[in-house]
């Protein structure tokens, strides 16, 4: 798909067809995450992927905003390094945001919908995937083919108006 179409077609998808994602496509989505930029290219992140129904069910219990995970074809847990200072944690979250959008636009390019979630229950997230100390389960993304309608460029996205959010030269 053309990039500009993928950018406009990406939307928050939380209900999925019962249809697996080809392994090759899932790897391409994860490769997009690996290639994302990070502050000073430090890559203080890891990505845990699962297509296991049991693990996806458990991910649905990690946070109230994760109820779409059990119905997803695949789930990704985004993990940040534990940092000693708040500034480091802030930057890790910025970097995970970059990787998140890379995942989402790479998925949209393949007709695959995505929906993200915070991590509420840290202990549960750790136990599902065996995340070691020194690493922080931070966000989750559900992936799958949209149950309602295929991804197509949105003409009117539900966003603040362009002239409200974009300032030219001065606030």
């Amino acid at each position: 798909m053309e990039t500009w179409d993928a950018i406009r077609a990406r939307r928050n998808v939380r209900a999925y067809e019962d249809r697996p994602i080809p392994e090759k496509d899932l790897d391409q989505i994860l490769e997009a995450a690996r290639r994302a930029p990070s502050a000073g290219n430090r890559q203080h992140w890891d990505f845990v992927v699962t297509t296991d129904k049991g693990q996806l069910e458990q991910m649905g219990e990690v946070w109230q905003g994760a109820r779409h995970l059990p119905g997803a074809a695949a789930g990704i847990l985004l993990v940040a390094n534990q940092e000693e200072e708040e500034r480091g944690a802030i930057i890790n979250n910025y970097d995970l945001g970059q990787a998140t959008y890379a995942i989402m636009v790479a998925a949209a390019d393949l007709g695959i919908g995505s929906g993200h979630s915070s991590v509420g229950d840290q202990d549960l997230a750790r136990s599902i995937f065996g995340i070691p100390e020194g690493h922080v389960p931070s966000y989750m993304i559900g992936l799958g083919y949209p149950a309602d309608r295929p991804l197509r460029p949105l003409v009117k996205p539900n966003r603040r108006d362009f002239d409200d959010v974009i300032h030219r030269g001065h606030w």
Copy 2:
């Protein structure tokens, strides 16, 4: 450009041709930012764009990692809402990361390189663009046509190995 090519062609570009970005293309890049997802679609962000040489020069003084801004054809200041609690600030940074990647991949699609920077001197960033209280200058992005070589898909990106950063089903 195909999405997968744009994802692989995006790289950190900090030296630019002395050549303006067509206004239409700059608006498309900003539209990608506007359309980026955010936590609960809250859009606690604003984007200030400039092509003014004087402002770009000043942006170069905001942080040691911003020395590419004076040579850029355009600069974007990413601004987050001021939040009362740290959790809100963390999520705003995650969301700004998503918008950052949207900007970068939309730019790559148009053959335009990008390089981001933190904001060090808050007061200076505020004064350049008249950012009001209640809003936090957070990151900057320089945009322009690469001075060295055009954007082409990278075969071997300088990243941790796929099998090091991607975990399947378990850490």
